[in-house]
């Protein structure tokens, strides 16, 4: 079979084959794409709007965390001597307790945030 014959057969299929069903409506496709474009634009705009707020919220969280940690450290240096002795008698050094509390603050904050952001089951 020559190329010309193959071309004729394939072209015949391309040009003459018509399905009994009508084509899907173009308007539905166009509006679906348009709706998706509008939605994507709206989401982008919304993200742009809330970006400064999200940055400010992040900075405020960081500042609060640093303040809490500094407060704990300051509390440690002002600890009454008797309390330190009680802790030592219980087998814990005041430094260990302070480090544990320092680690507990960001951990608690992280757990709280994860629980709040977890999608409802």
């Amino acid at each position: 079979m020559k190329d010309d014959e193959l071309t004729e057969i394939f072209r015949h299929s391309r040009d003459e084959e018509r399905w009994p069903e009508p084509l899907p409506a173009p308007a539905a496709i166009w509006w679906r794409a348009r709706a998706a474009d509008l939605l994507a634009g709206e989401i982008r705009q919304r993200e742009r709007k809330i970006r400064p707020l999200a940055v400010a919220r992040g900075l405020a969280s960081l500042a609060a965390l640093v303040a809490a940690e500094l407060g704990i450290l300051e509390g440690f240096f002002r600890l009454p001597e008797e309390f330190g002795k009680t802790l030592t008698a219980a087998g814990l050094s005041p430094w260990t307790v302070t480090l544990l509390i320092l680690a507990a603050v960001p951990t608690a904050a992280l757990i709280y945030r994860l629980r709040r952001e977890a999608p409802a089951a």
């Binding site: 015949h12 391309r14 166009w30 998706a36």
Partner: protein, 160 residues
């Protein structure tokens, strides 16, 4: 592209694309879904090609990628059905049926290649662009696909 412009473009090209999708995937029930998805992605891409032929090639490219995605997701290449539409009556019908039946027995990549070359009359460079293969390898791939098709036709001729 506004709605009337899209509608005119769709009316001019959709039947051609539908036949391509059907002849390559041979699953009638998914053809219209793929057709709609092709035009949807075309619109979302905001393709700014100049001529209608540029747009048509881009449509074929999207359609070909959608077919690949479909096969990859469903892993159905081996179990493709062969629901052929009613053949058009007239002279040369038997040989056309033989060719389409042989075409159906080929690999999807061969069907794409042959359809684009012989039905759409695409050049090697255009085929390479649509199928996302190297332009230099199209000549060899097309030659092999054609040889496989002719071999199937020869066997069919021997059987009957």
């Amino acid at each position: 592209m506004d709605e009337p412009e899209f509608e005119a473009f769709y009316r001019a090209t959709a039947e051609r694309l539908r036949v391509y999708l059907y002849r390559v995937c041979r699953e009638r029930r998914i053809v219209d879904d793929l057709l709609q998805e092709t035009y949807y992605r075309f619109l979302r891409s905001r393709f700014a090609g100049g001529s209608e032929e540029d747009r048509m090639r881009y449509l074929f490219r999207i359609a070909t990628n959608l077919l690949k995605d479909h096969w990859a997701a469903a892993k159905r290449s081996a179990e493709l059905t062969s629901e052929l539409p009613d053949p058009p009556a007239g002279e040369g019908m038997a040989i056309r049926l033989d060719v389409h039946s042989a075409l159906g027995a080929l690999r999807a990549a061969d069907r794409e290649m042959l359809w684009l070359a012989y039905a759409e009359g695409c050049s090697h460079a255009e085929i390479a662009e649509i199928l996302e293969v190297k332009a230099a390898s199209v000549r060899v791939l097309l030659f092999r696909a054609r040889a496989r098709l002719l071999e199937l036709l020869r066997r069919k001729g021997g059987e009957s």
